[in-house]
Amino acid sequence: MIKQNEIRLSGSGGQGLILAGIILAEAALLDGKNAVQSQSYGPEARGGASKAEVIISENDINYPKVQKCDILLSLTEKACNKYLETLKTGGVLILDSSVDTPKRDDIKVFKLPIINTATEKLGKVMVSNIVALGALNGITDIVSAESLKKAVLSRVPRGTEDLNEKAFNEGLTLGKS
């Protein structure tokens, strides 16, 4: 069993990836694991490529930053290009279907209509991050689905629980299909 999982969530500023990172880390704590979440602060937070990082481990986590990651989520082409090289050999790449499949044959690529599901099926582009979380967990089972759903519902704004629960379930289905 891999003891430490390093996850990088990337896209553009405003897509809610930092919140997604926080939720993922909280779900890991609910599972009784350790987690560290960090993000880049700076000009890239607005527009440009932005990222949130999560480390999940059964053990203590010392060095808190993600260097090479096991799982990379990219919701934009720009973010994918920027962070692709940080994905380990054998790693999992999860892409929005709007992103071109990159040329790397040493990784597993999952291309899913994440943003499209949020906009077309749910009518709110802003739940893309929660769809993405569901999809990520459907593919990787990195945390328990129950903990992740609980963490989603405790962090999203009051009154949006139903929408986010739907978004999460849609994502989970995408990831498992």
């Binding site: 704590l29 987690a35 560290v36 602060y41 700076g42 010392n62």
Partner: protein, 378 residues
């Protein structure tokens, strides 16, 4: 998660939680990255139970207000980063001289000047001790995790109260902004210290007279009946200024000695795998996390490496550093500056062992691999 009080929290949030647990009821500040969340969360939390939050016009005024708050009996804190820490120095000296208990959080970012506002650094180590002029007492503590930020903030308040001294909580951007697991202790499990105060009917009270058996003078709160004079000038036991050489000599020695003679009570540190080693890493704050990983990597490769991690940065942990220096062939000081704590280590350890330095000032945290390379290089 809420039930057993385990939370995912940022270092800056944990700082406020620790301050509140320690009894903070006054915060004056001027928000600055990467410390802003401390002011923000304090502004939300303090008014809910009658505590006071005030945003001042600048850092000089924030430090002055912190001192004023403390003089009324409040447990007062301010938070800033490099540029603001520079501005606070004059009044930090005043707090040291007038023996005002208060906590100053400095979340270090890249410097000098406005430098790298969103990037970590540890370049204010010497400033924490010598930023204000003259020989003076100061305590500075530096946490290495979110949980430790909570605990260390509590300690900072307690030491401020016990020794009537400004205490600097020297954080860095990595610890301030990262989120990790913390279990918030129950209220009854947090040890809290309060300043000693004069008896209400003490007609002989002199504001700067140390009673037999005490470390510091009892401190009356303004507004509770005692009237006394507070000054940054050298003063006698009444609190009024004096030019007398004997008075000056006695006062400054007393101020410095109250810390120097109680170092053991103020010494917090961690030793990690320091038995039977030939190389010792000394590192603190977020860099110590990289160092710990590097120690594990090195030991996995068959080397004998350990880590000494000071939590108390000032006063210097002289005894511990000398003891370890006698046991190892070399020491590597890893810190995000060009050699500040390394100067202290060299002063103490170079008689017994080699002292090397690994510094970084580009705004990125030192990585475990960089430390491992340095271990192999030396």
């Amino acid at each position: 998660m809420e039930k057993n009080n385990i939370k995912l929290m940022q270092g800056n949030e944990a700082c406020v939680e620790g301050a509140l647990a320690a009894g903070m009821n006054f915060f004056a500040g001027y928000p600055i990255t990467p410390s802003t969340e401390i002011a923000e969360i304090s502004s939300q939390r303090l008014p809910r139970f009658g505590g006071k939050f005030i945003q001042m016009e600048d850092e000089i005024a924030s430090m002055a207000a912190t001192i004023g708050g403390a003089l009324t009996g409040a447990k007062a804190m301010t938070a800033t980063s490099g540029p603001g820490f520079s501005l606070k120095q004059e009044n930090i000296g005043y707090a040291a001289m007038a023996e005002i208990p208060c906590v100053i959080v400095n979340v270090q970012r890249g410097g000098p000047s406005t430098g790298l506002p969103t990037s970590p650094a540890q370049g204010d180590v010497m400033q924490a001790k010598w930023g204000t002029h003259g020989d003076h007492p100061i305590i500075a503590l530096t946490p290495s995790s979110v949980k430790e930020t909570f605990d260390t903030t509590v300690k900072a308040f307690n030491l401020a109260e016990k020794y009537r001294v400004p205490v600097v909580l020297l954080m860095d951007e990595v610890i301030a902004h990262m989120r990790e697991k913390i279990e918030i202790p129950k209220k009854e499990d947090v040890e809290i210290m309060d300043r000693i105060k004069p008896d209400e009917d003490d007609v002989t009270y002199q504001a700067y007279e140390v009673k037999k058996g005490d470390i510091v003078p009892p401190m009356a709160s303004f507004g509770e009946g005692f009237r006394y004079h507070v000054t940054g000038l050298v003063h006698d036991e009444t609190g009024f200024p004096s030019n007398d050489t004997e008075v000056a000599d006695k006062l400054i020695h007393r101020l410095v000695d109250k810390i120097d003679k109680n170092v053991d009570d103020i010494s917090f540190y961690e030793e990690y795998k320091t038995n039977d080693i030939d190389t010792l890493i000394i590192s603190y704050g977020s860099t110590a996390r990289s160092a710990k990983t590097a120690v594990d990597m090195a030991n996995n490769e068959g080397m004998n490496v350990g880590l000494f991690r000071p939590i108390t940065i000032w006063p210097t942990l002289e005894k511990q550093i000398i003891d370890l220096a006698k046991k190892v062939d070399k020491i590597i000081v890893a810190e995000m500056n060009l050699g500040q704590y390394a100067l202290e280590v060299e002063r103490l350890a170079s008689k017994y062992t080699q002292v090397h330095h690994l510094g970084k000032i580009d705004g990125d945290l030192i990585t475990p691999n960089e430390i491992l390379s340095k271990i192999k290089e030396v």
